[in-house]
């Protein structure tokens, strides 16, 4: 277990800055998820942490020891690759032990460690097989096992579940979480899947354009997104947005748009106090909307997406397409007029000019 400290890290690929002055502190035993759309630099960051690409500036330290220019071999990290990258000509046992053999570990020790990792991941019956003879989920477990046998200080996981089908992905996600609970190891996990991020992480770092947009617990990132990018990226269906202005009169600030008004009774403004007429963007999660309650406004349903245990109701709100959630059987139909109200949990407000949280 090791703490990871990244300071002002810059990485260039082909002359282009991919990571541009990134700071990140990962505590020992933490499960940090780097979340972001493809091309945001999250895999690059992972490769830079592993020492597989050279950095252009800044520093990386594990447990306070600078590793910026250490070789991958010296960093004591275990990594799981998106493509698994299992050695095709070696058996599962050979795959698991390659790293230990390369380091000249004693034979008895190798056998013990391989045995331990194999039993942890239920790989014992597969030890003599080649990767080509394994299913996708089994290959994934071997890839995780290959990282585990090393007893590394930090485990880096690069979209390890993205090549699996939906059911298997959910099952392995739970296995991973159990594994982390049992080992208490420091894990840095890259994904573009927000569900994986929310379920696995102790903290999420949302990455975009080579910078950390927000760093916080899953609940925090979901409920109080730091800017419009994070707000739009987290959550499915996505957060509903509406452009408007702040109105401050009689103490309670309100959000006002054409044909829409909302009292912001408990809203915690960041930095400056609200100014009357200030242009802002309102963000409301679909589950914060109640359908059928004595509402503040009505709208017409344009689309219904049944999800099995609930359904997503799409409607028009002052020119923007909004969605809300409803029960499967008691929901409205397309074309019906529905009454809507914003429930008590806090909404989000963003500055109209740069999208940061208001």
């Amino acid at each position: 277990m090791a703490a990871v400290s990244i300071r002002d890290l810059r990485v260039h690929l082909g002359g282009q800055p991919v990571i541009d002055g990134l700071d990140l502190e990962v505590a020992s035993g933490e499960f940090l998820v780097l979340l972001g759309p493809s091309g945001c630099g999250k895999s690059t960051l992972l490769h830079a942490l592993a020492g597989l690409i050279d950095v252009a500036g800044g520093s990386v330290a594990f447990d306070g020891v600078d590793q910026t220019w250490a070789s991958p071999r010296a960093r004591n990290i275990g990594m799981v690759f998106q493509s698994y990258a299992l050695y095709p000509t070696m058996t599962v046992a050979g795959n698991l032990s390659f790293g230990l053999r390369a380091r000249g570990t004693a034979r008895a020790e190798i056998a013990a460690r391989v045995q331990r990792a194999a039993s942890l991941l239920q790989l014992e019956p597969l030890l003599a097989r080649k990767p080509a003879q394994l299913s996708g989920g089994q290959r994934q477990r071997v890839a995780i096992g290959r990282a585990l046998v090393r007893d590394a200080g930090v485990y880096l996981l690069d979209e390890p579940l993205s090549n699996l089908d939906a059911n298997l992905r959910a099952a392995l996600r739970r296995e991973l979480k159990l594994l982390h609970q049992r080992l208490g190891a420091t894990m840095i996990y890259v994904t573009h899947d927000q569900i994986e991020a929310l379920t696995l992480a102790t903290r999420i770092a949302v990455l975009h354009q080579g910078r950390v947009q927000q760093l916080g617990t899953p609940g925090d990132v979901y409920a109080r997104p730091a800017n419009r990018f994070v707000a739009g990226f987290m959550g499915a269906p996505p957060m509903n947005f509406l452009e408007g202005r702040l109105a401050v009169s009689g103490g309670t600030p309100r959000f006002v748009a054409a044909g829409f008004e909302l009292e912001l009774r408990d809203y915690e403004f960041r930095a400056a106090a609200p100014v009357d007429g200030e242009p802002v963007v309102l963000g409301v999660r679909p589950e914060q909307l109640r359908i059928g309650a004595p509402g503040s406004w009505t709208s017409q349903v344009t689309l219904i997406e049944p999800m099995g245990n609930h359904q997503v109701v799409w409607f028009d709100c002052a020119g923007s397409g909004w969605s809300a959630l409803s029960d499967s059987d008691a929901g409205p139909r397309v074309g019906a007029r529905i009454a809507l109200a914003v429930s008590s949990s806090p909404v989000s407000l963003f500055r109209a000019d740069n999208g940061t949280r208001r």
Binding site: L52, P72, R73, Y87, P88, M90, A102
Partner: protein
């Protein structure tokens, strides 16, 4: 050719080219192998056979070992100037052998490498380097790079990754390269003539001497037998390696 090689000279003189031999005889084969005159000496082409073997084996093994190592280094280790080096190597593949012949003789002469087994092997290795490097580099470049990165993280060094991971993955390529190189070297004439020296003349050169220099009557049956003997080795390589070839391709088609 086969039919003629099994006839006696008397029968050949009848001019019935496509007729079966009335009496099968291996006399011509024996003569070609043991006693036909290749220039001054009349010891058949068996000496050339062993010379060729002695040239082909090291030329093939060394060329493949170096080519695979080169290709691996160029594909994965991206040293500074690697692409320039690769470009130069490729350029080398397009320069005809004959152009380099004279400079090479001048270069190797003072090193006492002209007219020796080591010299001819060295020359073969040098001339095969571009194509050997090319096929191995392309093979390794087509492998997922994450495989190499995983091995690096696992602590594998340059040679360990090459020997334990990359070489087993290149078995189909090794077979193809061995076939190419072995047949290429076996069939070579001009390099053997220039660089091998009198003691190590390969079979092809002796065959030429046998066929083109005659004293007295031309022994067509012996010529034919000697030619067949010379072409037996490439033929055997193709026949024996075909199985491996297919197996290699099938293995490569499997998803790792």
């Amino acid at each position: 050719m086969s039919v003629t090689s099994l006839k006696s000279m008397d029968e050949i003189r009848l001019g019935q080219l496509f007729a079966w031999p009335s009496r099968l005889t291996l006399e011509a084969w024996r003569a070609a192998w043991r006693s036909a005159c290749t220039g001054v000496a009349c010891e058949g082409i068996r000496g050339g056979f062993w010379n060729s073997i002695a040239i082909v084996l090291p030329s093939t093994l060394i060329a493949i070992a170096l080519g695979a190592l080169n290709g691996y280094a160029l594909a994965f280790w991206r040293a500074r100037g690697a692409s320039l080096l690769f470009g130069l190597l490729m350029l080398g593949a397009f320069i005809p052998v004959q152009v380099l012949m004279f400079p090479l003789v001048r270069l190797l002469g003072p090193l006492h490498l002209v007219g020796s087994l080591a010299g001819i092997v060295l020359v073969h290795v040098i001339f095969s380097m571009p194509i050997m490097t090319l096929i191995f580099r392309n093979h390794f470049a087509a492998l997922p790079r994450e495989l190499f990165l995983a091995a690096r993280l696992d602590g594998g060094g340059f040679l360990r990754i090459f020997l334990q991971l990359m070489l087993p993955l290149a078995v189909p390529m090794l077979v193809v390269a061995a076939i190419m190189q072995a047949t290429g070297v076996w069939n070579d004439y001009i390099l053997g003539l220039v660089f091998a020296g009198r003691e190590h003349l390969p079979m092809t050169v002796q065959l030429n001497n046998l066929v083109n220099t005659t004293t007295g009557a031309k022994l067509y049956n012996v010529d034919m037998a000697a030619t067949l003997l010379t072409s037996l080795v490439p033929l055997a390589i193709y026949l024996l390696s075909g199985r491996w070839f297919v197996r290699g391709i099938a293995a490569g088609a499997m998803k790792g």
